[in-house]
Symmetry: C2
Subunit: 136 residues, 2 copies
DNA sequence: GTTCCTGCAAAAGCTTTGCAGAAGA
DNA sequence: TCTTCTGCAAAGCTTTTGCAGGAAC
């Protein structure tokens, strides 16, 4: 399964979310730039194309996309909120040297523990930190 | 293994960290109140005992304790940084209804995936969200 | 006396809110 | 026309910084 821009547009339509120019641009950006960008990175890059873009709109759009389940929030660091278009189960590793965030595969089902037997689990996040091979 | 206040004091001494009154109070608070409090909760509660306490000191103290490895930061939510005196490997579950954060046991070793073969992993966090049994 | 710690005030940074105008159905 | 979206400005919060006074050794 690939994350295609066209598929995501379809999902928005099904959820009765207007496909405004700004929203589509944010969505397109997230499908192309897979570096788990911050609001500021998204805003700065998109402003090159859309000179009238405001950061408020980026915030609004991301909130809509997150609520629609098309984007997930990454809070690996307490001073930077990042966004990921890939909502499938996977882990995130942040290199504390270069700051880059890597994705890694993980079997979330193997994580289920008896402590949470009667809990309704909606969201699973696995965050690792350390040094990446390039920085070692 | 228990997390005893006296043991933690010893650890601070070994790391040449001054055991000031404020620092000991923050440390003691974290060992007693195991609800993963925010800076504001720590400050508000401790201010009842120490009327001259400033939030800056709470921030300073937490930074010292985190750097010393006695406290871990929990960034399960992007708008609230929480602190946990238990630095052993375990997962955190946040109930999105009542806001309470639960600890759960997890075998971090079973998480190792081949994608991170050449990575130096220093920190592992597992965050789940959903609804707790009491709210269901 | 020297170093480190505390705490007030101010600054900085991120995110949300209010609102008026624009765009779209 | 009516609703929704955008974007500016302001407000709200959390966290950091500068600095002076105080405590500890």
């Amino acid at each position: 399964m690939q994350l295609l821009f066209e598929d995501l547009k379809e999902k928005l339509k099904k959820k009765n979310i207007n496909l405004s120019y700004q929203r589509l641009k944010v969505l397109e950006y997230l499908t192309q730039v897979r570096t788990h960008p911050t609001v500021d990175q998204i805003f700065t890059d998109l402003q090159k194309d859309i000179s009238t873009l405001s950061k408020t709109t980026v915030y609004n759009t991301l909130r809509v996309l997150v609520q629609a389940g098309l984007v997930r929030v990454i809070t690996i660091e307490d001073n930077e909120t990042r966004y990921d278009i890939d909502v499938r189960d996977h882990g995130h590793f942040k290199c504390e040297s270069c700051g880059k965030i890597y994705d890694f595969n993980i079997d979330m089902n193997s994580l289920i523990v008896k402590d949470l037997n009667n809990f309704k689990i909606d969201d699973k996040n696995v965050y690792f930190k350390g040094i990446c091979p390039q920085c070692l």
